[in-house]
């Protein structure tokens, strides 16, 4: 598996797209710091961008890379290699290189601005960790879509729809549900609904950590009461882990049964 990882990583490091993403994050970091002129404010703005953009980039790049690697996969499958290690290697290669672009692209400008001397280092690290989680989660989801759809156009469409649903439509439906059922106690419902969407889960986690949950009003207080505690943080992390592992597991399972 490590060899596959090495080759897919090498391949990605040489591809133009990795640099585009790296430069994009780099530019984003500098622009945010320049506009906000303040580390903690920049971190908050960055959060809004990360929870929406990282999933988009991970989904699109994941599905693109999967379809582009069809030839590579077919070549590898005829070699004496275990199927699951081929696919695991590819997955880790993509998710790893995207995470690297994220960490370096955002880390560099913030480090230059004096991140390590400020109190925001913890918040910033949390942001990056969540960005990494989102990259792995949405890469996994995209690979699932890729392996289930031979037709690239369809696969691409589904991938974009998935992102749109989780990043935008889900929140709309959530809000609608809150309004329609406003006369009922909705604490448990809203907590559960958050957990079932990795983007919302990440957003809430960051908001709470940055201690700006007061902005969320009553709901914020409920969330604070749950996620603010040690149990809350641990269960949120476990949920993110489940969100990472379940798509990966389902992808490997499909890959082991597929005909090439």
């Amino acid at each position: 598996m490590l060899k596959i990882l090495k080759y897919s990583f090498k391949d990605l490091i040489r591809s133009r797209w990795s640099y585009v993403y790296f430069l994009f994050y780099l530019l984003l970091g500098f622009v945010l710091l320049f506009l906000n002129n303040d580390l903690s404010k920049a971190v908050i703005t960055l959060m809004n961008i990360i929870v929406v953009l990282v999933p988009l980039i991970a989904t699109i790049f994941g599905i693109m890379y999967y379809y582009n690697s069809r030839e590579f996969i077919e070549l590898l499958l005829a070699q004496p290699l275990k199927r699951s290690s081929i696919f695991l290697g590819l997955y880790l290669g993509v998710a790893g290189s995207l995470t690297l672009s994220l960490v370096l692209g955002l880390g560099l400008p913030f480090a230059l601005y004096g991140l390590f001397k400020s109190g925001d280092i913890l918040n910033f690290s949390l942001l990056i960790v969540i960005g990494a989680f989102l990259t792995f989660i949405f890469n996994g989801l995209a690979f699932n879509i890729g392996i289930a759809n031979e037709n690239r156009i369809k696969g691409f469409g589904y991938a974009v729809l998935l992102w749109l649903f989780l990043a935008v439509i889900y929140d709309g439906l959530f809000l609608l549900a809150l309004i329609v059922f406003e006369e009922y106690p909705l604490d448990t419902f809203s907590l559960a609904a958050t957990v079932f969407n990795p983007i919302d889960l990440s957003r809430i986690l960051i908001l709470l950590e940055l201690d700006i949950s007061a902005l969320l009003g009553y709901t914020g207080a409920i969330f604070k009461a749950f996620f603010g505690t040690r149990i809350g943080i641990i269960s949120a992390t476990i949920m993110l882990l489940i969100w990472t592992l379940v798509p990966l597991w389902s992808f490997i399972r499909r890959a082991n049964k597929k005909d090439f």
Partner: protein, 236 residues
């Protein structure tokens, strides 16, 4: 060397293999023939584990291959369509396969045999179909494995390379290798094959020598014999 027992494979409603039984002993060249869509590639891909049969067992070197991967160390495979990652160079590709197989391959002889030296530093996406097929052949022959599976090895080759390929096959045969070859070029079959396996509509129609097939069909050459089987089946 390869035992295939009651293999069934369907894609949706299309039943491609309907109970194929085949025993391929060690050594010799076996040509798998059959009209388009008769299941030749599917059968080969099942042996390689690229496709998973719905039913039946396959053994390579007396070991069942289901969910296994180590046995592929014993097999060299030439895929029908040379699909390679486009953005790597020929030299890098050869190096990578060498590295992945953990076995030292001998590519320098093959590279000069197919006159690939000028292409070593070129990216695979920029190669012509025939040149890609030659790279494909280098990858398939560079390891010393007892079984060599070739799916349409002649496609896109110029006459000089075809002669080189035939020599190569003879040389490996003398070294005691077992070949499984699919092709539509009957002249090629007549020249190289020891045994013929004829697949028709997902079943084995005939196995045996070339002269046996000619006798069975009452035709004077292989091309007509094959055509006769195919049309006879259609009229029936």
């Amino acid at each position: 060397m390869i035992q295939i027992e009651k293999i069934y494979k369907r894609f949706g409603r299309n039943e491609v293999l309907k109970g194929v039984d085949l025993n391929i002993p060690e050594g010799g060249i076996y040509a798998v023939l059959g009209p388009n869509g008769s299941g030749k590639t599917t059968l080969i891909k099942c042996v390689l584990g690229l496709m998973i049969p719905d039913q039946g067992d396959i053994k390579v070197a007396d070991k069942p291959i289901s969910k296994q991967w180590k046995y592929r160390e014993e097999i060299n495979y030439l895929p029908q369509i040379a699909n390679f990652p486009g953005n790597i160079r020929v030299r890098e590709l050869i190096h990578m396969i060498n590295d992945l197989r953990k076995k030292a391959g001998d590519e320098s002889y093959l590279v000069s045999l197919f006159k690939l030296e000028p292409f070593l530093e070129k990216k695979l996406a920029n190669l012509s179909g025939g040149t890609k097929q030659k790279v494909n052949l280098v990858l398939a022959f560079m390891f010393d494995s007892p079984v060599i599976v070739l799916d349409e090895p002649t496609s896109g080759l110029d006459p000089a390379s075809l002669i080189a390929l035939k020599k190569l096959i003879q040389k490996e045969k003398e070294a005691g290798k077992t070949f499984l070859i699919t092709t539509h070029i009957m002249q090629f079959v007549e020249e190289v094959a020891d045994q013929i396996i004829y697949l028709l509509e997902g079943k084995i129609y005939y196995t045996g020598t070339l002269s046996g097939l000619l006798e069975k069909t009452g035709q004077k050459d292989l091309e007509h014999a094959i055509a006769a089987i195919t049309s006879e089946k259609r009229h029936a």
